[in-house]
Amino acid sequence: MIRRRSLLAATAAAAASLAAPAIVRAQTVKELSFYYPIAVGGPIPKIIDGYCEEFQAQSGIKVTPVYAGDYTSTMVKAVTALKGGTGPQFAVLLAAEMHSLQAQDILVSLDEIGLDANAKQWLAGFYPAFMANSHADGKTWSVPFQRSTAVQYYNKQSFEEAGLDPEKYPTTWAGLAAAAEKLTKHDATGRVTRWGLKLASDLGNAQWTFGALANQAGVVLMNEAGTETYFKDPKSVEALAYWHDLAFKNKVSPEGISNWGQLSPDFFTGNAAIIQHTTGNLTNVRTNAKFPFGVAGLPGLNGPRTVVGGGNIYFFKSASEAERTAALKFARFLSEPERAADWSIKVGYIATSEAAYNTPTLRKYIAEFPEANVARTFLPVAVGELSTYENQRIYKALTDQIQACLNGAKSPEAALAETQAEAQRILRPYRRG
């Protein structure tokens, strides 16, 4: 069906030269294309291009990367395109989208593409935490690529100014709130000139921030099957109450919502002393922060807890068998220890396997720049990102309510009770099986 459509597309293109289809599928695999999220201004598109060129030199297969915006945009583009009968052969999408993508019936599992003993061994080499979002129905559906945990970047200069020890980052909620209070600075009129702490609460990111907070309070937000959510759990409420209080009680965070993309400039300009962001931002922070900064794992109610995040490589059904095999080959190429190490160094993501950390390159880098190792050491206390069926809808429902709460319009209890009711409604068809 899809083949026939692309044939139709090709005919239409011949009829009108302006209608050149973006992706022409060849009989033998000479070309692949994939969508990926991430970054701007920085060197990242160049790095990805470099990997593709290297792969082409090695295998003769040309891989065209298509930068498609942030995670949400990339997901939207990939699924819409595939439903429309075009689209890439594979894509880097949020690891947490597995259930949603499966429900769309557009994925092909790695088992179906073909895994020999060697390949199975390769898969076993990834950190288990990063494979958490890859398994369902006894099959493997994605390959970890740009993986992260949430970390906090803090301005050491501000810490010293506030009389805090820059080498001792707080590990508990109370400690963090107290430190943030000291870090929050006002001018003569009482206007805040520096916020103690900023967390992202915009659509596409609020659920990540909240996932970390929930884990810090001691609850995981969903079941493994992605059919149940636990937003009403008292511990979830406690987590949102803490977030709410940072703005309304401790007054160390601004009221209203803060944008993910805005956090880095806030940090660089000294507007925020601590930001919670992805380790994938590490190299960017290192390049642009004009002051000594630290990287710390997230604190928790009683001790450090965090959330994993980032993107995995998914393979699409619509690709031919040869294309699927070639795409898998590319995924393997990307995860080779040397390359994973290179990617980690150049961007800041956690390299996906222990083997990468045993490479001399990464060892040397970590010795020089120990901050690069922080995120990895928190993997044991990290939980998977919120991942359910209809993921985008659940994210939206949760984010709406979080935003209402952070705007002071709803109490944490009320906000999460409404989220849970909405999530129940959205997930009902999937619970029936």
């Binding site: 819409t80 805040v192 000139t193 400039p265 507007n271 985008q392």
Partner: protein, 295 residues
């Protein structure tokens, strides 16, 4: 006899000349509108579940959706704020630059320039201005002793903020139409009115405004359409947030159709939007149509 064949020829000529444009127009406006209406009575087809007829269920679901009502209210506020403000500003601008005044060319340019920018570009620039603490607005406000404000992150100010952007972008566009109309008014009209002792305001109200009525209708139709059609700035600036405070109807449709892939719900929402547009068109032509004559 000859007259008859002549009419017949004009008939097929007429149809032939109209046909190419008409086919395209119908194929991408009327046909999808009709299909949308049909789709709104079916479920979304998902893997393993083909679309099934459900009657008015989608409409009932929509009526039960509190976010939808919020979105409607948002769009009503957005329209009621942007339309009059931008049209009145446009008229004032046109009146200002219609007469000779120092730097008229520059002024015209100043008013019109925002119109030439893509909305997406405008939104990027304003997003920067609205940045809390160190964005342009907060800096200017602090200069005058004001406090900081989270313009787009606060549910109370985010809708006014996107309204301001729309007015800024649109007023200059409508000005051009008023300007064009003003320049075709006979100049002796004003002299005659002045001789009869009419004040400038009376002249404006009694003579100019009625003469500008066709332009006003044209501008109004465009303003109404834009209030429902342009959501580019929402995509860039707020993503509809916080808590749907800036979600407009078309953005909601886009979200339902292309982020949640629920085409039945999106179709139902589209039908509501189409209904609204048609009612608004009827109202506008009903009120103004009698005072305007398109020959």
């Amino acid at each position: 006899m000859q007259r008859e064949t002549w009419i017949r020829r004009e008939t097929w000529q007429g149809w032939l000349l109209v046909l190419p444009a008409l086919v395209l127009l119908v194929a991408f406006t009327h046909w999808p509108a009709l299909m949308t209406l049909v789709d709104s009575f079916f479920t979304t087809s998902r893997a393993g579940h083909p679309a099934a007829f459900v009657g008015w269920d989608n409409y009932a679901d929509l009526a039960d959706d509190p976010v939808f009502w919020k979105v409607l209210a948002n769009n009503a506020i957005y329209a009621v704020a942007t339309i009059p403000v931008s049209v009145v500003l446009a008229l004032l601008m046109a009146l200002a630059v219609n007469h000779a005044l120092p730097g008229r060319g520059l002024l015209r340019m100043a008013y019109f320039t925002p119109t030439m920018l893509p909305m997406i570009a405008v939104a990027n620039i304003w997003l920067f201005f609205f940045t809390p603490d160190y964005g342009l607005f907060d800096v200017v406000l602090s200069f005058f002793g004001g406090g900081r404000h989270n313009w787009l992150g606060d549910a109370a100010t985010s809708l006014p903020a996107v309204i301001a952007v729309a007015v800024w972008k649109e007023a200059g566009f409508f000005m051009i139409f008023y300007l064009a109309a003003l320049q075709t008014l006979p100049p002796d009209l004003e002299e005659a009115a002045a001789l009869e002792g009419a004040s400038r305001f009376t002249f404006f109200r009694r003579v100019m405004l009625p003469l500008l009525m066709p332009t006003t209708l044209f501008v109004l139709v465009n303003a109404v359409i834009n209030a429902f059609r342009v959501v580019d700035h929402i995509v860039v600036m707020t993503n509809g947030g916080p808590d749907n405070a800036t979600t407009l109807l078309l953005f909601y449709i886009y979200q339902t159709g292309f982020r949640f892939w629920d085409s039945a719900a999106a179709a139902t929402q589209t039908v509501v939007l189409l209904g609204l547009l048609i009612v608004l068109a009827a109202v506008q032509f009903g009120i103004f149509g009698r005072r305007v004559h398109y020959r």
